[in-house]
């Protein structure tokens, strides 16, 4: 283990501890420590759920490319893909915990599940996908589970062949769950007829394309950090760059298509949504479009893929853009009060019924119809803790398990 890796691990461990303590504090005091309130009832945590779910798509892209489409060049990255998928999908489940008001009652999800609820579907697919990526990773590692790790291995005749065969068999199943997590997470939002910003059939396919873009970027970045940017990896990186660029373009197309259709008709809801989205949040919106596009375009350039700092910068830019995109799921949904009507006798007037905040804010009215949500430091620390968890898990696995392919591809 090199010194850089070691210090990253210590740093992640420290952040996790601080975040855990912060969560305990939040458990004691309640969600009053966040900056959410009744009219803005989901914030950074649920944006984080969507973000981590997207990041988990790397495994999907790699397994399907390698085992369904036969792209052998990507094979050295297969285990890394499964690992980042597992780390991110578990992170997605973890970030929901601090958002739950009564986590001690989570068992109710098993005792009294309501199968009408997309949240129950999401819990199921996220768990299945976590299980599938862990199993998949295990099967890929099997041939190398020798020596110190022999106790982890199972007895089979030809381990190489066994691993190959089962990886191939598992690939379509894993692919199904992998698509499932993006579609179902999108459905949590897009089934909500109350929120015009979410209620769109474009959301599920858009979640899949964002996920393919950002999930692949995570694998590309992890691969470059682990193997370097040597010539022997350039072909694999080039392929990933291509996938990323196409996915970003599909995402932007789906998003713009939706916006144009709604904006063209110009209904009251759309006008209100546009005012929020393009008013106060205009810079965030420009960033969510520009950053992934520029990042993906840079990754198409061979010179960028050959230089570690440039590759990291471009990947980072894309990931940051997607994070902002996830953050923007909320404002236009919550600041557009669904209970908006045309009062009798006042045609062409939109009027929103204010909502009680449910918590005391000095200097703010109890009833509001607009709210500027900025996450509290508690929310930020807990989110960083989950990022650190994913990072530490990946680093530990690389250090302890045969994740990286030793010989040249």
């Amino acid at each position: 283990m090199n010194a850089k890796m070691k210090s990253s691990m210590w740093l992640s461990g420290g952040v996790i501890l601080v975040a855990f303590a912060t969560w305990i504090y939040q458990l004691q005091e309640g969600l009053i420590l966040t900056n959410m309130q009744n009219s803005y009832s989901w914030g950074l945590y649920i944006s984080g759920l969507a973000f981590f779910v997207g990041n988990a798509a790397g495994g999907l892209v790699l397994t399907s490319s390698i085992y369904l489409f036969g792209v052998k060049k990507l094979k050295p990255l297969a285990k890394l893909g499964a690992l980042t998928a597992f780390a991110n999908v578990t992170a997605a489940m973890l970030i929901v915990l601090p958002d739950i008001g009564k986590p001690q009652r989570l068992l109710n999800l098993i005792l009294h599940p309501n199968f009408m609820s997309p949240l129950v579907w999401d819990v199921i697919v996220l768990n299945l996908y976590a299980l599938a990526s862990a199993t998949y990773l295990y099967i890929l590692m099997l041939p190398e589970l020798t020596g110190r790790l022999a106790w982890l291995s199972i007895k089979v005749d030809n381990v190489q062949e066994f691993s190959e065969k089962w990886a191939k068999r598992l690939a379509p199943v894993a692919l199904l769950f992998a698509i499932g997590i993006h579609v179902v997470t999108a459905w949590i939002f897009s089934t909500q007829g109350a929120r015009d910003w979410w209620h769109s059939p474009a959301m599920a396919p858009d979640f899949v394309s964002v996920a393919i873009a950002v999930g692949t970027t995570v694998v590309l970045l992890a691969g470059a950090l682990a193997y370097g940017t040597g010539e022997e990896y350039q072909e694999a990186f080039r392929l990933l760059g291509l996938i990323i660029f196409m996915a970003v373009c599909t995402h932007l197309f789906l998003m713009m298509n939706d916006l144009v259709i709604h904006a063209w008709y110009g209904s009251g809801e759309t006008q209100r949504i546009m005012e929020i989205a393009w008013g106060h949040f205009v810079w965030a919106h420009i960033f969510e479009v520009a950053a992934p596009l520029i990042g993906a375009w840079l990754l198409l350039q061979p010179a960028v893929r050959r230089s570690m700092p440039r590759l990291s910068f471009s990947s980072g830019l894309l990931i940051a853009g997607v994070f902002v995109h996830r953050f923007l799921i909320m404002p236009a949904a919550y600041n557009n009060i669904p209970m908006t009507m045309t009062p009798l006798g006042l045609p062409h007037t939109d009027w929103s019924l204010p909502i009680a905040t449910g918590r005391f804010f000095p200097g703010m009215s109890t009833f509001i119809d607009q709210y500027r949500y900025i996450p509290s430091s508690v929310e930020v620390v807990i989110l960083l803790g989950i990022v650190a968890y994913a990072l530490l898990l990946i680093l530990l696995a690389i250090d302890r398990l045969p994740i990286l392919v030793k010989e040249k591809p």
């Binding site: 005091e29 309640g30 969600l31 009053i32 959410m36 309130q37 009744n38 009219s39 009832s41 989901w42 958002d99 739950i100 008001g101 009564k102 986590p103 009652r105 989570l106 109710n108 999800l109 005792l111 009294h112 599940p113 309501n114 009408m116 609820s117 997309p118 949240l119 129950v120 819990v123 949590i188 089934t191 909500q192 007829g193 109350a194 929120r195 949904a333 919550y334 009060i337 669904p338 209970m339 009507m341 009062p343 009798l344 006798g345 006042l346 007037t349 009027w351 019924l353 204010p354 909502i355 009680a356 905040t357 449910g358 918590r359 005391f360 109890t366 009833f367």
Partner: protein, 224 residues
Amino acid sequence: MKMGMVIDLEKCIGCRSCMVACKQHNAQPPQTWWNRVFTPGSHRHLTPPAKGVEFFLPVHCQHCENAPCEKVCPVGATYHAEDGAVLIDYERCIGCRYCMSACPYGVRQFNWEDPEKAHVRSEYQEKYHYGYPEDHRHEGRLVYMPLRPKGIVEKCTFCAQYRDKGELPACVRGCPGKARFVGDLDDPNSEVSVMIKQRNAFTLLPEKGTKPTVFYLPPKAKEV
């Protein structure tokens, strides 16, 4: 039996008595209001938005027949009681707040902190407690507590604790304009059913397809 409510907007004087009765009887924590009365079109209550136009709109849970809050609830904490009221089981709710996003009427309220602490934060008189004093179970499920646990969602219950004793909801009793009526929507001859038919009753946000069981009777235009 299907519970329903009719609110006559012609009779509503916008006094907010029902808001206060609801708040007090149901021991709602500070800043939590199950029932809101506003002046549509105006940013100030009791101020006409335009000359000759003024009416008041009380809104609380609409006890929807096709209730999105019930459908999204992952643990079935939000449920339809036998009589059609939509209730929350305070023992079951995990506080995911999914229902708050799903409800188009903005009536669901979360307990962001312990109510006792909220009282202190809002500088309520020390040790002053208001509201129905005992826990109440309806069909075996805990639907009312004078002190709510932090981290769960609450909303209008049509005053389950009073109805189970044969009494009317606090808002109905507390309305000086006698603008509120409850009754059986399944019975075509009940007072509420007749009013709905004869007075062109409407529901809020019919386009959302929630099928509310709270109906409003339109007011006449006023000379203000």
